[in-house]
């Protein structure tokens, strides 16, 4: 009986011992920092750490590898002998490094995106100016083809930026720049006169002479500045009214012959007032004048225009709206034309110049481009 009791006590004791040993030998769980770090590394890679901070990412990876190897070594030990304290510490350091790296990557990404956006904005400003100029020129077809393509690519750049594909966005902007350069070359050929100081000085002189005459003779004068799309009425040498105008389909060019859709430049006068024209009221000017005829004949002689080409005529200041392009006439909004029509008598001098501004917008655009190219 006694033996049985001792035996039962021993069995119980063994059982308790086994439970105790089992509990104390239980394998400690791997520290959560291990999983966190591995997930963090994936996030960093997805965020583009290898691209935006390659050196720092490499160092981080190396530290992560070391920590992982250390963890693996610990894992090889029998559960009871495992101690994850150092592992935890190493992974915490890696996580801290990863957090700093994340901030660095975000900062560099923001910087890259900012640089690309700034480049895009400056190219878009060029595009916008060329787009507006191209509408006023004959060679618009060629320049606008390039500009339309550039516009499509601007939209692609926006998408690439949204997707964080900065390299591709940069490449796309290079293609945009090339298209803009091609468009610019076409436009430059049309706009060279506006960048020529001697030509601008000649226009300015012509305008000043006419204003002086208006002052001396106490008379009215109409001065049209094509580049600024501005018609100014002078009285006694002083501006009394200014209107925004539309020009010829090829408005910035000087008219040479019929059908070129250019607006003539020179000194003219109102020769007829037309009360009821196709485009509301109209003031007919004496294009072609002597200068125009001379220029036309020279061009014919030099073979610039064919023998059959005619010089054209019927150039008016008329209504119909400043937003529509004409075949060479100067167009105003109907209500403004009505006002001008009432104000201007037959015989009023009309001077049409390219521009009188020696620092006009074309010069600022193209000279600005030149500076940018040489950088």
């Amino acid at each position: 009986m006694k033996l049985k009791a001792v035996g039962a006590a021993l069995v119980l004791l063994s059982l308790f011992s086994l439970i105790f040993i089992g509990q104390s030998c239980q394998t400690p769980p791997a520290p959560p920092e291990v999983k966190e770090a591995l997930a963090q590394e994936q996030d960093l890679w997805r965020a583009g750490a290898s691209f935006f901070a390659p050196k720092e990412y490499e160092a981080y990876r190396q530290h992560l590898d070391e920590a992982r190897k250390f963890f693996n070594q610990e894992e090889l030990k029998i559960g009871y002998f495992r101690n994850y304290d150092k592992v935890r510490e190493q992974f915490r350091q890696v996580l801290e490094e990863g957090n700093s790296l994340k901030n660095l990557v975000e900062a560099r990404k923001a910087q890259a995106a900012g640089e690309i956006r700034s480049l895009k904005n400056s190219l878009y400003e060029r595009y916008r100016i060329f787009d507006s100029f191209s509408l006023e020129l004959t060679m618009r077809n060629f320049s606008r083809q390039h500009l339309a393509q550039a516009d499509v690519m601007f939209k692609e750049v926006d998408r690439l930026l949204e997707q964080g594909k900065y390299d591709q966005a940069r490449e796309k902007l290079k293609a945009v720049e090339s298209l803009l350069n091609q468009a610019e070359n076409i436009l430059r050929r049309q706009l060279e006169r506006y960048m020529d100081p001697a030509q601008v000085a000649a226009w300015k002189k012509m305008a000043e002479r006419a204003v002086k005459r208006s002052e001396e003779t106490n008379s009215l004068l109409i001065l049209v500045s094509k580049l600024e799309r501005r018609l100014t009425v002078y009285k006694d040498g002083k501006p009394i009214k200014t209107y925004e105008v539309g020009l010829g389909f090829n408005g910035l060019a000087d008219k040479l012959h019929a059908g070129d859709d250019a607006t003539p430049e020179g000194e003219y006068k109102v020769i007829r007032k037309i009360g009821s024209s196709k485009y509301a009221r109209a003031l007919l000017i004496n294009y072609p004048n002597e200068e125009d005829v001379k220029k036309f004949n020279e061009a014919k002689k030099r073979g610039i225009i064919t023998e059959r080409t005619k010089i054209g005529g019927l150039i008016e200041i008329h209504g119909g709206g400043k937003d529509g392009l004409t075949q060479g006439c100067v167009a105003l909004d109907d209500d403004e034309m009505e006002e001008l029509f009432r104000m201007i008598p037959v015989g009023t001098p009309v001077v049409i110049v390219g521009t009188t501004d020696p620092n006009n917008k074309i010069i600022s655009v193209f000279k600005g481009e030149k500076k940018a190219e040489t950088k």
Binding site: Q145, A148, K155, L325
Partner: protein
């Protein structure tokens, strides 16, 4: 003495068995590498970027295990072999995903291309119908030139599809569609302008 000799021989045999049985798993390494290369060749860098990265990481972890074991006296490559086998199996699974993803990208690019073409054709048709008056002639000429530019870009969409750059093709096609729609709106506005004047 005899017993000692027997024990020594037995010991040597055991050591020999341990070391000779624990050769580096070269075959498994090569298989896993080949499986990852196959994923890359199938377009993994484009269509399974994240998965490919994980495969490479897992492979590197397996190689770490191989290297760790190779430095030990008693090498156990069992775990490394398991890891490498998993890499291989995962790579095969990833490779199997790619054709469907590629097909999906192609489908999206072709849809976008068709939509861009339709928007282009619509703008073109509108432009042909537009009244070429004094006030609209210039606008119409300009828009024709714009459409010519879009046509050139549409050709580039096809070129991108031919090169299997489906994401690039889709982005371009969507941008073309937007521009074509904008031109169509301009044409409509020009038509309205003429109508307004006639009233």
């Amino acid at each position: 003495m005899k017993n000692l000799m027997k024990l020594s021989v037995l010991g040597l045999l055991v050591v020999f068995l341990f070391t000779s049985c624990a050769k580096q798993p070269t075959q498994q390494i090569n298989d896993a590498k080949a499986a990852i290369s196959a994923v890359e060749a199938a377009g993994g860098n484009i269509y399974a970027k994240v998965e490919l990265k994980k495969l490479n990481d897992d492979f590197n972890a397996a190689m770490d295990e191989v290297n760790a074991q190779s430095k030990k006296l008693f090498k156990k490559y069992g775990k490394a072999k398991e890891m490498l086998a998993k890499v291989k199996a995962d790579a095969e699974a990833v490779k199997a995903l790619i054709p469907a993803r590629k097909e999906e990208a192609k489908k999206n690019a072709l849809n976008a291309q068709n939509e861009a073409k339709a928007a282009f054709e619509e703008a073109k048709a509108l432009l042909e119908k537009a009244p070429k008056g004094k006030g609209t002639k210039a606008d119409i000429e300009a828009m024709k030139a714009d459409l010519a530019g879009l046509e050139a870009q549409l050709n580039e969409v096809q070129a991108a599809i031919d090169k299997e750059d489906y994401f690039g093709a889709k982005d371009k096609a969507v941008s073309i569609k937007e521009k074509a729609n904008a031109i169509a709106e301009q044409v409509k506005a020009a038509i309205e302008k003429v109508k307004g004047k006639k009233k």
